[in-house]
Every structure is written in structure tokens, then in C-alpha cells.
């Protein structure tokens, strides 16, 4: 292809893009003379140029289109949608031919006579004789001839625009501006950008050396270099900047086509077209944007009749707006259409099995709406030619997240949908936070980092664990945590896994001491990344990782730091993906869900420790509120008992075994059991591990301290009876606490009789003392059958607590049985279970349980008991 044609193609493509926009404008305002002359000019130039380089087919179409436009301009023909459509058709034909030339270098074969005839008939409508047809035939045969007529028309055009008045000077100015700009191949700019990036890095390196050296002679030139490089960087960035309007230029045409096809009335308002952003970013958001606008027009805006029925104006509006906001570009797409239908989303979610009914029940509208970003999701009932094929918003989101952007959706049913896209200004240089984990350094894009938290052993910034999973309470929100070291499997001599393998002593609470949490946000999902150290932020140039490492999701690239070392750049989206389902992130309160989940399994988290002679000991982790290291020096003796000042209170200490003392040791690990604001500490030799294990007590114990022994990880382990120690410590405070609780509810004046039906001796032994100290009279049975025997023997109780999973007769069956007979029919029935999903609760309530509580949730157990009593009392009162 020769240079002439190449030049022609670039120019034509550009003008054709503009024409799309202009023609739609023209249709809306047919009297805009200036616009008309502009369109005329463009078509005229196309025709003229292709005549010059001998592209006859292209010229034929352009020529006729120009003639029709000429009639518009002269006012001989009214601008109607039909005619504009015809011009569009011609434009499309021109584009097609141009496209073919671009690929093959030649005009494609084909016949345009049908189109030309249509145009000719329009000309006839406008009172022009069809002699032009012959002229055209001549034009096809002899290009030279046409050039003559071409000149005539050109002259005419110039004359006419001149006569149309004041527009001429402006035109001249425009072309003057055009002369000041020049076309540069994108590759050249890209290359320049890479070089500048390198320069920036080298400067950073120099500055770093400078900081640590005492030589002053370089300070001034370096300072200057610093400034020049910054300016250069900015300058080169500018060359890559393009107004966002460039990505929007196709949209008016798309909307127009949709309107015609679907008989809708839509107006597209665009604001902030001049907002500039990196062309690389622009390219990447072009398609997602088009897709979303198309969605709004197709699914969002209703038909005119529907709109009037709803009391809305007949014409729907789609508003595009873009602006800068703190290093980001915000693009908003808002429509005043029907909004997202929550019900339809629900149906679709269930139909596609993206979630279960129970899961959906608990979701807010906002969370439900997030489903539209799931793959294979489309709420449109019918698939139109425009959209609704189900490859949609998920791709949009992926594309936007790929460039470090985020997408936010707000929709009110019946009122419309607003989508907000936040994208970085440029991809080439990003600001990143440098962190260290397991003696390796990593960069986290600053964009995703919301805040940093330094952790401590106690106090507010404490990392807690839920079944071994670290979590953090950030301003009353539960933040899931992920340890970078574990995530990336970085092994150091001090890493927990290594320690566990070596059977070394480890202190779980101290694992997170002095570490940092990088609070990261991906979409609407917030999570914390635990790292060892945080350094400062650095401007980095993201370089793609080697091909063989592409499949590691955790990294989005790598870069060279100021000191010359290579560093891997973490990909927050990848980390989020590996930590869980990011779409279903429940920001409000997912700790209940997590707790429920942790209970949904039969396994119990056990804290293993050594205390005194014999087998290792274990205690359910749920009962332990904290692990502490108490210094021997801090231990005091009051009333001959060990106490320690702990969080402004005195905490009694009890050694597990008399052999454990604070003599000759600097500190000892202490298991803290808390109840209300009172705590007690159990002094042990050492903490071994936290493990998840099915608790199956093989041998029941005769010793009060122990519930029995179980096999854990192939070793005989004694299960400690916590209640024994709780009772053993100054029992006074336990009672006072119990009284306080009861008094606060104020309903218990005489001792209530509680029947506990529970097959597991472990839980029986755990709950009985608890209920006893709370002031209840407790009777226990090991099975439902035994309980029914008590019923037959005319025993009376005020409340029945029953386990659900029991052999022979389950709690559900037990409840149904109780409701069938009349003796115990009216006794409140409370279910105790390790399963507390909504489904289970419903099942329980149906069977006749009054309420449903989790076995380990001591507080809610006590609360439920007193509540149940108060309700029963109220019912009783009402019945009277």
C-alpha cells in the first residue's frame, strides 16, 4: 500500500468517526447550517480525495451522498430521519469499503447501484434531475472527467459556505490549530514512555544514594535533574492523554440505532468529554463503556408507552459524565429507566444456581445487585439483537479491574440505574506501598490500599482468631485477614508451620504481635493483608512478569525499585479471589455467618497445651478468651492466692498442677477464661498448638479436672474440664455475676428448673456448671428417651434445653413427641445445636422449639433462657 492511500485512510477514518456524531446532532437540529456545511465538507473531501487516487467505487457512493447533503444545505430538502438513515447507510458503505482497502489495499468488488439509486430518488424528491446518473456512469469509467466536476462542486461548496456568512473565519482558525498538531505513531510514544519510566527509576535511585551520602556537591544538579525528569514525565504523559469524548463518539449513533430498532425515545447527555486520560486506559474502557450504555438503552429505558404509564416523561435520558477526582477519573453512566429488578435477580440467581434460597434471604438489595457482575447473568427476558446474551457485566468488571479500576452500581427499581467507574489516570506509573513479609519485599498498588493498622498483643488493635482464622475488628466491622506469608507460602525458620513441625513451643497470640495490617479494598470487598513490615511508598513502573509466571494470580507484575532490586507487585484482586468469594462479601456483619460456618462442622477447635506430668492437655478453643504470657514478676499474692493485675482488674491465677509455679521462670503462658468483665487465668507449662479435631472422648475420667481422654493426632490427650477451674476459683464472683445477670432481667425470683437433654458428656459437663452458677436447677439426661421417661414420672421443669443431633431420637423428633402429649406441652423448648443456619432454625421452630442457640454461645444461652422465661410469664399474664 503506498503512502498516499495510507494517509487517506487515516484521515478518512478520523472524519468518518466525527460524522457519526454530527449526523445524529443534525437529525435533532436540522436547521444547524454550520453543522450541515461541516458534514458536507467531510463527505466532499472524501469524494475528492478518492477521485484523485482512483478509488471509483468509494467515490460513487460519496458523490451521491454529497449531492443529497447539498440539497439539505440548500434547504431544497427537509432533513428527515429517513433521509438521515440513508446517509448513514451510505456512510456505512463508505466505512466498509475503506475497511477493505485497509486490509487488501484494493477496493472490494461489489455493486452499489441499489444504494446509489435510492440516493438518486431522494435527489429527485428534491427536484434535481437524474442527469447525475449519467455523469456518474462517466465517473466510473473515466476518473479524470469526474475530477472536473469535482472541482466545480468544490468551488460551489466554497462559495456557498462563504455566502452562509460568519462561519468562515472560525473554519480558518480550526485548520490553523490542525496545522499545529502532528501525527506520531503510537509506538514511538510508547517507547518514549518506557524510556521516561526508566529515567524516573534511575532518578529515584540517585536520590536514594544521595540521601545516604554526605557529598553536597551533587545536591544542586540532582535537584535540577529531579525537576526536569518530573516535568519530562508529565510532558510525555500528556502526549498520551486523550479526551474521554473520543471513547464516547460512537455512542450517539448506537443510541440512535437502538431507538429506531426498539421504538424507544432516548436522549443521550454527555458531560465532561474533555476530561483527559491515558490512551491505553481509554482503549481499554471503550468497549465496557459502549456495553454499559447499550445496556442502559436496551434494558434500562422503557418503551415510551410504559414510561407515560409510570408517570415519567416519554423520552428517557442516559447521562454520561466524567471528571477528575484525586488521581482518578470517574465516569458515570446514569439512566432514568426501570432500574434493576430485585425479584428478577433473585429468580435468575436461583435458576442459574448461583446461590441458594437461604443465602439470598439475608442479602440486602445492594448485595443482590452485585450478582449482575457474575458470569452468565442477564436479567433481560428476551435477547435482543442489541444486548442480553449474558456475556456482559462480568466482562465489563473484569476489564475495568484489570486496569486497576473499580465499578460501583446503584439502582432503584423504577427510578433508574447509576453506574460509576473509577479508573486510574495512567497505567504506566503507579504509586505502590512497599511491604515486607517473611524477609521478602512486595509492592501493593496504593490504589487498593485503604489504610494501615499496626497490631499489638492486646488492646484495640488485636488480631483475634475465629477457629484459627485471623480476623480483625476495624471500627466495628469484621475484617477478614490473610497472612501474606502463608498465602505466598514463604518459609522462614520462624514461620508457624516450621515451628509446628519441629514441635516447638509457639504462642499463637504473639504470632501477630507488632505486625501490620494493610487494609485492602477490591470492588466492595474489604480485607486485611498481614505483613511484617511496611516501608514507604514508591512510584513504580509496572512491568509484566515473565510468561512462565503469568499463571500466578497473586502478582500483577514486577518492577525495579530505586535501589535496583527487583520486586514483585501483588495483585489485590488475585489475593481477594484466593481468600474467598469477593462478590458475596457481606460488609455489614459477617461474623455471625462465620461463626455459624465454623460450627457447621463436627470438628472442634482445640487448644493443646502441656501442664504438669502426663499426656498433653486440650481445651476447646471457644472457651478460651485469650492467651497471655504472664511475667513472674507481675504475679502477686492476695489472700494466699495468685493474682495478677490485668486490664485494670485483678485476675485470679490458678496453676493447672501444683508442680507449675512461677519459681525459676521468667514467664509462663496463661489461658484466660473470661465471663462478663471477670477473668481467670489458668497457668500451664507451655502451649503446643491449635488444632481442629473431632472430639470423641474415649475414656471418661474420675478426676474432676478432666472430662476424659481423647486421641488427638494419634496422641492420647486429656480434655480439661474448664468448669472445674471456674468453680474452683473464688466462687463468689461467679455467683455475683450470675445474680447480676438475672437481676438485670429481673424475672427470676425462684429457682427455675432446667432439663438438659444432651448426648455428649462433654457438653453436658460443660453446660451444667454454667447453668448452675447462673442460678438454675439443672437436671441432665443423655438421650431423648430418658427425658421422656422423666416426663412419664411426672417430673416438672420450667424449661427444656435439647440437643438436635442425638442418636436414636433426634431433638426434632423429641420436640414433635413433646408437642403430641399433654404433660410437657407448654414447657418452653430451646434447641441447642452446632448447626445454626437459617434452614435449621426454621426446621426447629416448625417442630416446636421456641428458640435456637449455638452450643458455644454462652451469653446468648443465658440471655435466651431469661428471655424465654419472661415471655412465658407474659403469655401467662395475657392468658389471665
Amino acid at each position: 500500500m503506498d503512502d498516499l492511500i495510507a494517509e487517506f485512510l487515516t484521515e478518512t477514518n478520523e472524519s468518518l468517526e466525527e460524522l457519526d456524531v454530527d449526523l445524529v446532532k443534525l437529525e435533532q437540529d436540522p436547521n444547524d447550517k454550520e453543522l450541515l456545511s461541516k458534514i458536507f465538507r467531510v463527505i466532499h473531501t472524501v469524494k475528492g480525495t478518492c477521485g484523485f487516487i482512483g478509488l471509483s467505487r468509494l467515490e460513487g457512493v460519496a458523490h451521491k451522498a454529497e449531492d443529497v447533503l447539498g440539497l439539505f444545505r440548500d434547504g431544497a430538502l427537509e432533513v428527515t430521519p429517513e433521509y438521515v438513515s440513508l446517509i448513514f447507510e451510505s456512510l456505512d458503505r463508505i466505512k466498509y469499503i475503506v475497511g477493505e482497502i485497509e486490509v487488501t489495499g484494493k477496493e472490494p468488488k461489489g455493486d452499489d447501484s441499489e444504494l446509489i439509486n435510492k440516493l438518486a430518488s431522494v435527489l429527485e424528491d428534491g427536484g434535481v434531475e437524474t442527469t447525475t446518473n449519467e455523469e456518474l456512469a462517466a465517473a466510473f469509467a473515466i476518473p479524470d472527467l469526474d475530477e472536473d466536476s469535482d472541482d466545480d462542486v468544490a468551488e460551489e461548496a466554497v462559495k456557498k459556505t462563504e455566502s452562509s456568512g460568519g462561519t468562515e473565519p472560525q473554519k480558518a482558525r480550526e485548520s490553523a490549530i490542525a496545522n499545529q498538531s502532528l501525527r506520531v505513531n503510537v509506538d514511538v510514544l510508547e517507547n518514549l514512555m518506557t524510556l521516561v519510566s526508566e529515567l524516573v527509576l534511575t532518578r529515584n535511585q540517585l536520590l536514594q544514594i544521595m540521601r545516604s551520602s554526605n557529598d553536597d556537591s551533587f545536591t544542586a544538579p540532582l535537584q535540577r535533574l529531579n525537576h526536569v525528569v518530573s516535568d519530562l514525565q508529565e510532558g510525555v504523559m500528556k502526549t498520551r492523554m486523550q479526551p474521554v469524548g473520543n471513547a464516547w463518539s460512537k455512542l450517539p449513533r448506537i443510541i440512535r440505532d437502538i431507538c429506531n430498532e426498539l421504538n424507544k425515545k432516548i436522549e443521550l447527555d454527555m458531560k465532561g468529554q474533555d476530561t483527559e486520560l491515558d490512551r491505553q486506559v481509554l482503549e481499554l474502557i471503550k468497549d465496557p463503556l459502549t456495553h454499559m450504555v447499550r445496556n442502559s438503552a436496551d434494558h434500562g429505558i422503557e418503551l415510551p408507552s410504559e414510561r407515560t404509564a409510570m408517570g415519567k416523561p416519554e423520552t428517557g435520558h442516559i447521562r454520561l459524565n466524567s471528571y477528575h477526582e484525586g488521581g482518578h477519573i470517574i465516569i458515570e453512566i446514569a439512566d432514568d429507566g426501570r432500574g434493576l429488578s430485585t425479584q428478577k435477580i433473585k429468580d435468575k440467581v436461583l435458576k442459574n444456581k448461583l446461590a441458594t434460597e437461604e443465602e439470598i434471604e439475608n442479602l440486602s438489595d445492594l448485595q443482590l445487585q452485585q450478582f449482575i457482575f457474575k458470569p452468565g447473568f442477564s436479567t433481560a427476558e428476551t435477547i435482543t439483537s442489541v444486548s442480553g446474551r449474558g456475556v456482559g457485566m462480568d466482562v465489563v468488571r473484569t476489564n475495568i479491574e484489570k486496569i486497576g479500576g473499580s465499578i460501583d452500581l446503584k439502582s432503584v427499581e423504577g427510578q433508574g440505574t447509576t453506574i460509576q467507574i473509577k479508573i486510574p489516570l495512567t497505567l504506566a506509573i503507579v504509586s505502590a506501598l512497599i511491604v515486607e513479609s517473611g524477609s521478602e519485599r512486595f509492592a501493593i498498588p496504593q490504589l487498593a490500599v485503604k489504610e494501615l493498622v499496626m497490631t499489638s498483643v492486646d488492646g484495640e488493635n488485636r488480631i483475634e482468631t475465629i477457629k484459627g482464622t485471623p480476623v480483625f475488628r476495624l471500627r466495628d466491622n469484621l475484617l477478614p485477614l490473610v497472612s501474606l506469608q502463608e498465602l505466598l507460602k514463604i518459609v522462614t525458620p520462624h514461620s508457624p508451620s516450621a515451628a509446628a513441625e519441629d514441635e516447638q513451643v509457639k504462642e499463637p497470640t504473639n504470632n501477630y504481635n507488632g505486625k501490620y495490617i494493610v487494609v485492602t479494598q477490591v470492588g466492595s470487598y474489604m480485607f486485611g493483608v498481614i505483613v511484617d513490615k511496611v516501608f514507604d511508598t514508591e512510584e513504580i513502573v509496572v512491568k509484566p512478569v515473565a510468561n512462565m509466571l503469568r499463571n500466578i494470580d497473586m502478582f500483577s507484575g514486577n518492577t525495579i525499585l530505586g535501589d535496583g532490586t527487583v520486586i514483585m507487585i501483588l495483585d489485590p484482586a488475585g489475593i481477594a479471589k484466593s481468600t474467598g468469594d469477593i462478590d458475596m462479601a457481606e460488609r455489614n456483619d459477617n461474623d455471625a455467618a462465620q461463626r455459624a460456618e465454623s460450627r457447621a462442622q463436627d470438628k472442634t477447635s482445640l487448644l493443646l497445651f502441656k501442664a504438669g506430668p502426663g499426656a498433653p492437655k486440650a481445651v476447646p478453643l471457644e472457651l478460651v478468651s485469650r492467651l497471655e504470657e504472664i511475667k513472674a514478676a507481675d504475679v502477686e499474692y492476695a489472700n494466699d492466692k495468685m493474682v495478677v493485675q490485668y486490664r485494670g482488674n485483678l485476675m485470679p491465677l490458678l496453676a493447672y498442677d501444683s508442680s507449675i509455679t512461677f519459681e525459676n521462670v521468667a514467664m509462663r503462658p496463661v489461658l484466660v477464661f473470661s465471663d462478663g468483665n471477670k477473668s481467670m487465668g489458668l497457668v500451664v507449662d507451655s502451649i503446643i498448638d491449635i488444632t481442629e479435631h473431632h472430639l470423641d472422648i474415649k475414656i471418661t475420667s474420675a478426676i474432676d479436672k478432666m472430662l476424659g481422654s481423647a486421641i488427638i493426632h494419634g496422641k492420647t490427650t486429656d480434655i480439661v474440664n474448664v468448669s472445674y477451674f471456674l468453680q474452683h476459683i473464688d466462687s463468689g464472683w461467679y455467683n455475683s455475676r450470675a445474680k447480676k445477670t438475672l437481676n438485670s432481667h429481673g424475672h427470676i425470683d425462684d429457682t427455675k428448673r432446667v432439663l438438659l437433654v444432651e448426648d455428649s458428656p462433654f457438653f453436658r459437663n460443660m453446660l451444667t456448671p454454667l447453668l448452675k452458677v447462673a442460678g438454675y436447677d439443672v437436671t441432665t439426661t443423655g438421650s431423648a428417651a430418658e427425658a421422656l421417661e422423666l416426663c412419664d414420672q411426672d417430673h416438672e421443669f420450667d424449661i427444656i434445653l435439647s440437643d438436635i443431633e442425638m442418636p436414636e431420637m433426634s431433638g426434632i423428633e423429641f420436640a414433635e413427641e413433646l408437642r403430641r402429649q399433654d404433660k410437657w406441652q407448654n414447657i418452653p423448648l430451646v434447641a441447642l445445636s452446632s448447626h445454626t443456619s437459617q434452614h435449621d432454625v426454621n426446621k426447629g421452630i416448625q417442630a416446636g422449639f421456641h428458640s435456637y442457640i449455638a452450643k458455644f454461645d454462652r451469653d446468648s444461652l443465658l440471655d435466651t433462657l431469661s428471655e424465654t422465661f419472661s415471655e412465658a410469664r407474659k403469655d401467662y399474664g395475657e392468658a389471665l
Partner: protein, 159 residues
Amino acid sequence: MSTMTPTPANDIQDTLNGLLSSELSTDYLTIHIADQIFGIPVLQVQDVLGEQKVTKIPLAPPAVAGALNLRGRIVTAIDVRCRLGLPPAEIRTQNMSVVVEHDGELYSLIIDRVGDVIGLNNDSYESNPATLDPVWREISAGIYRLDENYWLCWMCLCS
């Protein structure tokens, strides 16, 4: 190494044939790993480096030793011993590496020792023995007979 895309042996063969047909002899940079001598066509070699500061890459395939900075370009370091299924060197006196380009990306091959550049007569080229270890076959394009011992000719091992 299922995560890596193995270069089809044909490619290696093609390159080699190209080299073999164009000239009578080819220049190779010899490198030593364990007791074996290997050769890399000298035109593929970008650099020979001494001890380098290598950044470890977590979760990467075991043969990837890390990444290093070579004059502003990021180079992936490959532990050749690991790639070949050899045990790590007992005493690694000097950590030498040879930087080669493959598919537009730079790779640094960590080896025991770098030898000389030698020109080899194409007559002494022989294709891989069929019984060669499959791991070795993936990276070896054939062998040359030297005076005393055979050695493998090596085209690329970054695949």
C-alpha cells in the same frame, strides 16, 4: 513442569538446522553443570553474570530461582540444576549465570561454571540418543562429539 509451556522439540530442531546449514561450524559458549558440559549458541547469549542479588518469587515453579535486574530489564533466573532434576551443588563456589533471550524475554541460567567459546564443526553433530532422560531431551537439541567426552548442545531451557 506442567505449568510451563514446553517448546516443541521441532522448534529447536529447526533453529539448529538453520544454524547447521548456514555455516560449516557453529560457535558455542560452553557451560559446566555437575560433570556435564553444555553448549549454548553464542549468538543467543546476552550476558555472563557473576553473583547477583536475586529476588525470590513465591509460588513460582521450583526451577525459577527468582528475578534480577539487568540494566533496567527484569530477568527471570532459572536454576538449571533444579530444571535438570539434579541435586543442588554441594559447595557452590561461584554463582555464575548466563543470560539468554527467549521469546522476547530474558532468562538468566544459573550454572556451576562458564567455560570458553568454541567453534564446533557441524560434522560432529549427532541427534539426541533415544534413551536420553526425557527431561534432558526437552532442552537438548542434540549432541556433539568432543575429543574425550560427549556433550549436549543446548538451545533453550526457559520453556
